[in-house]
Assembly symmetry: C2
Homo-oligomer: 256 residues x 2
């Protein structure tokens, strides 16, 4: 039974896509079978692993709106053991089309159900909003990992996000838990990063991941080559950090 | 008649709020009368200028949904000549509540109409999405300024954003124009920034602003003190860049 991890935060630009791609790729490097699902109409997770969006005829939109079998839509990923359920701009229409549909919150869960025996991890990249696409991801997920930037606005939206997770847990997915809060773009040279880390670990001692992702320009270069960091620059500090995160995530499941 | 500038980009974390706050504050420093409107339920523009969201009973939500007179809701800004129409989490409900309302796209325009003689500039901060809150902002605006990060994913969503601007222009706001594309978080040390700048200036030669905003940690520290950069650290490279941008925006209007 796959663990389904939704990468969520309505604050923009906090490293959701970078975490979805690199956590997936590093878990595949550890020998796990991983599916990455792109639930953001921007499609950064799709293009960030080198899939040309113009080459895609069917995507996750067809699974949640058209009831397509996801196996028809899944593509090979950038690394052995990782596959991708891509998105295109069609997905932008889903938010509106789902609004009046029956069981609108659980369409993705129904779509992923037949895949849960095929993978050990399913990682879902979400858009920077708490609309129906993110709600669908939380309803399908067994857990959510929340990246936050080591910057001032980081803590502002967390309370609201936690509230949304609780509402999804109460109404559609009682098993949902928060697997962790991940500090990203941490810059050792600035007091701001250190201050934010101190505050996050104080507020959420048990939820804050041990691993911290540093600000590293190689991480922002890698998507231009369609490669996860572990392929683009395996010995960089970004690659080491995401490998560490992958081990931490895999271990946390084994402890139960 | 105020120029109304919507700061838009559905890509998250590109510097929309930082631009809305600092462009407004710098234009006020140049002696213009400016209103900043926070149309993002996250309310970063509101908290970034030191307004405690817990202290707010009425906000822009009441103007667009309840038809409140905006003058009752407007607060003094952080600097002489700048005022703020704040937002709270109530605004998150507006996206859904507006969906079935009559003239749902033009509620903000109607709300701001009585203010157009009170200010020379009205600057609107938008959320990272192209939903009804951003559509309302584009429908109310005379122009839109589009911040883009000097990073790989920067150009991906622009075509889609331009399409949305054209659709708003065709259906609800024929006077809307794109006043410019602004490069933000530019890091002189990386090739990535230089490559993105070259590509943006090649694709959009007439739209790309002369001013480029550098990556500068002082810019990300300032909101923690509720101050625009021009008050927090007036001689920093972030303050100089936003003053330059303010002059460029003011001059572009004077040329017509
Ligand atoms: N640790 C890091 N160091 C340096 N740059 C990073 C890091 N993580 C992400 N980036 C870059 O920062 C930008 C934002 O990251 P990303 O797109 O992953 O965030 P996001 O939360 O998915 O954004 P959105 O809210 O638009 O979906 C990207 O250009 C990315 O390449
Ligand atoms: N030029 C800059 N140099 C350094 N940091 C910056 C700069 N501009 C913005 N930041 C920081 O980067 C983060 C993202 O910026 P900001 O919140 O303004 O983007 P946004 O587009 O409004 O995000 P959202 O999509 O969530 O609304 C913030 O923590 C901000 O302080
Ligand atoms: Mg993303
Ligand atoms: Mg913002």
């Amino acid at each position: 039974m796959a663990r389904i991890i939704a990468i969520t935060n309505q604050k923009g630009g906090v490293g959701k896509t970078t975490t979805a791609i690199n956590l997936s790729a590093c878990m595949a490097t550890l020998g796990r079978k991983v599916l990455m699902v792109d639930m953001d109409p921007q499609g950064n997770a799709t293009s960030g692993v080198g899939i040309e969006r113009a080459d895609i005829s069917e995507c996750v939109y067809d699974v949640i709106i058209g009831g397509f079998d996801p196996r028809r839509v899944i593509r090979p990923g950038p690394i052995e053991g990782m596959e991708v359920l891509p998105s295109t701009l069609d997905l932008a229409a889903a938010e509106i089309e789902l609004a009046s549909e029956i069981s609108r919150e659980t369409r993705l869960r129904a779509g992923l159900e037949p895949l849960r025996e095929d993978y050990e991890y399913i990682v879902i990249d979400c858009p920077p909003a708490l609309g129906l696409l993110t709600i669908n991801s939380l309803a399908a997920a067994s857990e959510t990992l929340i990246p936050i930037q080591s910057e001032y606005y980081a803590l502002e939206g967390l309370v609201y996000l936690f509230g949304t997770v609780q509402r999804v847990k109460r109404h559609v997915n009682s098993g949902l838990k928060i697997s962790g809060v991940l500090l990203t773009m941490f810059d050792v040279r600035t007091n701001l990063s250190k201050d934010v880390e101190k505050e996050v670990r104080r507020e959420y001692p048990r939820l804050t991941m041990r691993t911290v992702i540093p600000r590293a320009v190689r991480l922002s270069e890698a998507p231009a080559y369609g490669k996860p960091i572990i392929l683009y620059e395996p010995s960089s500090k970004g690659a080491l950090a995401y490998m560490e995160l992958a081990k931490e995530v895999v271990q946390s499941g084994e402890e139960g």
